[in-house]
């Protein structure tokens, strides 16, 4: 009963953010849902600078300097720059903060960061009868040199192929995504395999998007929204319990204006 109350409170609080609170696998700056990629792409010229809170439940199972935190996983955050130089290409550069050391009182004294670059390419745009298809990879640059070396930690290295199809009902938009994703290292292998999700963009407030997704290991529900054409917010709950979200500033470098 107590858990149900917490769930209701969190759900109401999250929904309450809706008017204040897009399409992004936002913790990397590339397009997608909360954690899974989609076949969609950002608009050509869209640039992002943002930060994302990463719940410890969404972090790698081992490594990531966990010994500096007594061997425990911890909440952290990342920050990123991302750009869609063309309508078929997205690039991003992400830094994820790690605890490097703590003092005797348990206060964090040093941080360090893990860096990776992401690329996403859309070879097939969405058509009337077929979905959009995109392929992508996180941490492709490091993987190119070190993928065959187990001692090199590639926490976020994964590649994927994703397809997304949208349907309109009275101005409301429903998007269906199906993707296959593969993480190269064991500490993230729980997210390997078929993943997917559904999005809903209401006609009365198309800047907002509700989403539910299956990551291969858990369910995530959430929402994101683009405010004043420049501020994108995302909030989500893993298994209806663990918060996961962030904010970014968005600009179109070609000077174009989009509703979302």
């Amino acid at each position: 009963m107590r858990h149900l109350n917490i769930y209701i409170i969190i759900t109401i609080a999250t929904l309450a953010l809706l008017p204040l609170l897009g399409n992004a696998q936002q913790y990397t700056g590339t397009s997608g849902m909360a954690h899974i990629p989609t076949g969609e792409m950002h608009h050509e010229g869209d640039a992002f600078i943002g930060a994302h809170f990463l719940n410890k439940s969404m972090m790698p199972d081992t490594g990531f300097l966990y010994p500096a935190n007594g061997g425990e996983k911890y909440n952290t955050f990342d920050y990123y720059l991302a750009l869609a130089p063309f309508s078929w290409l997205e690039l991003s550069f992400v830094c994820t903060e790690r605890i490097r050391s703590k003092d005797a009182q348990g206060n964090i004294t040093k941080w360090s960061k893990d860096r990776y670059a992401s690329v996403k390419i859309q070879p097939l745009k969405e058509g009337k009868h077929h979905p959009a298809i995109a392929i992508g990879c996180n941490d492709f640059a490091t993987a190119a040199f070190y993928e065959d070396r187990p001692d090199v930690q590639l926490y976020f290295l994964n590649w994927y192929v994703a397809s997304t199809k949208h349907f309109n009902f009275s101005g409301n938009e429903i998007g269906l995504t199906l993707a296959y994703r593969y993480f190269f290292r064991d500490y993230n292998s729980k997210w390997n395999g078929i993943v997917g999700g559904i999005t809903f963009r209401p006609s009365f407030f198309p800047e907002a998007r509700l989403m539910a997704e299956y990551t291969g290991n858990e369910f995530i529900t959430g929402m994101d929204v683009l405010l004043w054409q420049h501020l994108r917010l995302q909030a989500s709950l893993k298994n209806f319990k663990y918060f996961y979200g962030g904010a970014c500033l968005q600009f179109n470098l070609l000077g174009k204006k989009y509703q979302y």
Partner: protein, 311 residues
């Protein structure tokens, strides 16, 4: 082959501007770039950060970068710049006000070949400067392909906590090619050669030019540190509509950031000869060289206010 002194056929927009100016003595005229002799006084912010220290994750060096450009006409220019540290976590070497650049340059066109010669003090990296002679060349073969080259004969100057000047005993050069895809405002650049620290290497860069912003990714190789890669961002700073007077006070024309993954700052390194040098604008003035990003809508529209100014 065009005659070296041919003028109007190369720059139809400028020719139209000149004709209209002479015809009506327009009190105000919009131009892509004024060519009147003028003095520009400007300042930007030199923003540096690094993460190479286990004890401090990020270290910052933020400096004001006031400078001047005296455009003496006929593409002669005297330029200077000073660095004034505001935030300094890079150590003692960068805590002093530093003369960063002082040189005279001349751009000219010889047929299809564009040349820029510079003599004086050049900026290099952080606490270090170079002095000497520099020659840059750009040879557009067509609208989308061009060759480029740079050669320098320089010595080291250090002017902060210590004073040091070396003989002009170092030669550096690069040569390469540029491809510009106007439909996508995308530029591919390849250059290689013998760099300032006498390393050999090459660099490949892909630039996407947007309105007022250029973003590029690059990869490089040299015989000392081997591979590195990163990205660059160049943002033309507002205001984009400016008045052109004989003396102009303005912000710096651009803000530039270059991110290198491995912090190999002493390889694949050349100096800068212009206080506002950047990859978006290239080496040559927009009114002289109409190639690449110079064929896009200009970042700055100048409104002349002095009817007696002669472009």
């Amino acid at each position: 082959m065009r005659h070296p002194c041919s003028f109007l056929p190369h720059r139809p927009l400028l020719a139209v501007f000149l004709a209209l100016s002479l015809w009506a003595g327009q009190p105000k005229m919009l131009t892509a770039q004024s060519t009147s002799p003028s003095l520009d006084l400007f300042s930007g912010v030199d923003f540096n950060f690094r993460d190479i220290n286990f004890n401090t994750q990020y270290e910052f060096l933020i400096r004001l970068s006031p400078g001047f450009k005296w455009d003496m006409g006929h593409h002669w220019q005297l330029a200077g710049q000073v660095m004034i540290p505001i935030v300094n976590q890079y150590g003692d070497g960068t805590r002093y006000v530093q003369l960063n650049m002082l040189n005279v340059s001349k751009e000219l066109q010889l047929g299809q070949l564009y040349l820029k010669g510079t003599a004086g003090l050049f900026s290099e990296v952080l606490t270090q400067n170079r002095y000497g002679l520099d020659l840059k060349a750009f040879w557009p073969l067509c609208d989308w392909f061009a060759f480029e080259g740079q050669a320098g004969w320089v010595g080291i100057v250090i002017m902060n906590s210590d004073w040091f000047i070396s003989p002009m005993d170092r030669y550096a050069w690069t040569a390469g090619a540029d491809i510009y895809l106007s439909k996508w405002n995308t530029q591919l650049r390849f250059s290689g050669g013998k760099y300032l620290y006498q390393d050999y290497g090459y660099e490949i860069e892909a630039m996407r030019h947007f309105n007022h912003t250029t973003v590029s990714v690059y990869g490089l190789w040299n015989n000392v540190n081997y591979f590195d890669a990163g990205f660059r961002v160049v943002i033309a700073l507002p205001p984009y509509h400016r008045k052109h007077r004989t003396v102009n006070f303005r912000p710096a024309s651009n803000w530039r950031m270059s991110y290198t993954t491995m912090y190999h700052i002493f390889t694949n390194r050349m100096y800068c000869t212009d206080p506002e040098e950047n990859e978006r604008d290239g080496w040559f003035s927009r009114d002289l060289l109409q190639w690449g990003s110079h064929t896009m809508q200009p970042d700055f529209i100048y409104k002349t206010t002095n009817t007696n100014e002669t472009p």
